[in-house]
């Protein structure tokens, strides 16, 4: 117990700390000496032109890609050597830019599978998952919270694009993560769906720590507490929305050109 208290005392407000992270593919430096800090409870947006290395960066955070050098600390623990499943169990959830759902499964099954992973082992070969009320109730709860309650029995592959994006978000949320990483949650969504999701994400503010990649600048400046800008693998600026808006380098490198 004493250990916990003392850890609380030293624990600062930083949830994710990335130090001098590098990753190259062949000769291309996709992540070039990146340093980022994500604080507890904030919505931190990662912006930058296509090919800037944003997705590569979050793939290294979630453990799908291994970094060449540098360190990632999560909740005060170095996680660079851990594989994706271990990081997930520590509380890092991510969604994908290209929808990554289990297309043969229903919405509820998709979400239930996300909950199940964080809910004891999965070597039980006898008891039907459908009879595990704790998992199923929670799955329905998550789906309803995102407005998909009525679609719970629909095979996810049959959903409309916007709905699949929503499900992608629901799956990440269902993991009840300490850090929620969203890779372009609005990608390919219509105006109405976009507004719905932005409002929904706004409602998550302070409840979750969120690191989000997004190209929709209106959404970014509405949601984000802080913004980091990446260009050609480098982090060129990090600050509040106002600071970023005022930053000359960002304007010339990204916002202006856009």
């Amino acid at each position: 117990m004493g250990c916990l208290v003392s850890r609380d005392l030293v624990m600062n407000n930083t949830l994710l700390k990335i130090t001098d992270l590098n990753k190259s593919f062949g000769g291309v430096c996709a992540t070039d000496n990146v340093n980022v800090e994500v604080e507890r409870g904030e919505i931190h947006a990662l912006i930058g032109p296509n090919g800037a290395g944003k997705t590569t960066l979050i793939s290294q955070i979630s453990g799908i890609l291994q970094s060449d050098s540098g360190e990632i600390q999560f909740d005060g623990i170095p996680i660079s050597h851990m594989k994706a499943p271990a990081r997930s169990l520590m509380g890092i959830a991510r969604s994908f830019q290209i929808t990554s759902i289990l297309r043969e499964f229903t919405c509820q099954e998709n979400v239930a599978l996300a909950i199940q992973a964080h809910f004891g082992h999965s070597y039980n070969m006898w008891k039907p998952v459908s009879s595990e009320d704790k998992i199923q109730n929670r799955a329905v709860e998550v789906l309803e919270s995102i407005g998909m309650g009525e679609l719970r029995d629909t095979t996810s592959g049959d959903l409309a694009h916007g709905e699949q994006r929503q499900l992608e978000l629901a799956i990440a949320l269902a993991m009840d993560p300490k850090l929620l990483i969203l890779d372009e949650p609005l990608a390919g969504m219509g105006r109405i769906d976009s507004v719905k999701i932005v409002n929904f994400l706004n409602g998550l503010k302070r409840k979750f720590t969120i690191l989000v990649i997004e190209h929709d600048m209106d959404a970014v400046f509405t949601l984000a507490d802080r913004i980091s800008v990446m260009v050609y693998g480098r982090l060129i600026a990090s600050g509040t929305p106002d600071e970023i808006r005022a930053d000359a380098m960002v304007r010339s490198a990204y916002l202006g050109v856009d």
């Binding site: 453990g63 994706a84 499943p85 990554s100 999965s122 039980n124 998952v129 459908s130 595990e132």
Partner: protein, 321 residues
């Protein structure tokens, strides 16, 4: 809903037909005075058991093992080698077969599951061929002439005997039903969902927090053990075991049975085994070169209905899926 119901109905009808045929075969054989049919159906059900076990990794897990007949061989050779040393105790044979199959599957799975796609197919096949050639090279156990088993497994009781064809038949039948029921439970369980999810989208499963390699390996071992049960039974039907049982073409036939019956359907492998045998009987009566027709026919079936016979059931009457 009506479509769903009628699909459910068709599946039930097919299940009753297939299971009923297996359940009543010895009685029919008695009436027709064709005792030959009892052993024929025994063999069929052993194929079905092997195919059910393959379906776990192939159909539900997406692991295309081209070496699954290895585990039939392990089961059969365990009984054979024990018999060679005059040990006929069924329980000892069974436990040993299960242990050896699990161990080999652990090693071979541990190696092959690090690869994907074509590489996985090639490695599983290569590993099985390795054991196949090993069995040919050991003269002590008959090399390619095989091993004659002088006595069948002994249960240590008078209540049931492997030497009684009908009792033996219904034992195999029960094992097959048990395997079917186990698969049915398994795919709806936590474990089953993880295996099916991994087939569907492995990266997603990893990010959800599942160490997919471990689950796939456990599934691979499970399938190997189940298949070895078929091997133990096979040795008792044939009173003989030879390297042929694990030749790569046998593994290929198992894949065909699974695909023909319908991957990822519980009963599919049994239907597949039955239809596979019926077709080979039918074509071999037409011509000596029946493989020439059989091969293209199977390819045609797979092309027309990727989900096999089970897939045909879900096609609506109007013709569009």
């Amino acid at each position: 809903m009506r479509v769903l119901n009628s699909l459910q109905n068709r599946r039930t009808i097919l299940a009753i037909l297939v299971i009923g045929t297996c359940a009543l075969a010895p009685i029919a054989a008695g009436i027709l005075d064709q005792p030959y049919y009892i052993n024929l159906f025994s063999r069929l059900m052993i194929w079905a058991i092997a195919a059910i076990s393959l379906n776990l990794i192939l159909g539900y897990g997406g692991m295309i093992s081209f070496g699954h007949s290895l585990y039939l061989g392990i089961g059969a050779y365990t009984v054979g080698i024990f018999a060679y040393y005059d040990i006929y105790n069924f329980y000892l044979q069974l436990v040993t077969a299960v242990a050896v199959a699990a161990f080999i599957a652990l090693i071979f799975g541990g190696i092959s599951l690090r690869t994907r796609g074509v590489y996985f197919i090639m490695i599983t096949m290569a590993l099985t061929q390795m054991v196949y050639f090993l069995s040919i090279s050991i003269e002590e156990y008959g090399s390619d002439d095989g091993l004659i088993i002088y006595d069948r497994s002994d249960f240590g009781t008078d209540l049931i005997s492997m030497d009684n064809p009908v009792q033996r038949y219904y034992l195999i039948f029960l094992v097959m039903i048990a395997c079917l029921y186990f698969s049915h439970r398994l795919i709806r369980s936590r474990f089953g969902y993880v295996i099916r999810g991994t087939k569907s989208n492995e990266t997603r499963m990893e990010v959800l927090g599942y160490s997919t390699f471990r689950y796939r390996l456990v599934c691979f071992i499970l399938a190997g053990v189940m298949c070895a049960l078929g091997g133990v039974l096979s040795a008792n039907v044939e009173k003989f075991v030879s390297p042929d049982i694990m030749h790569w073409t046998r593994s290929g036939e198992l894949i065909f049975m699974v695909v023909l019956g319908g991957m990822a359907s519980i009963l599919g492998p049994v239907t597949g085994a039955l239809v596979f045998w019926l077709l080979s009987e039918f074509f071999s009566r037409i011509t000596e070169h029946w493989h020439l027709i059989f091969g293209p026919f199977l390819i045609l079936v797979v092309l027309l209905s990727p989900r096999g016979i089970d897939g045909l059931l879900s096609i609506k009457r109007s013709g569009n899926e």
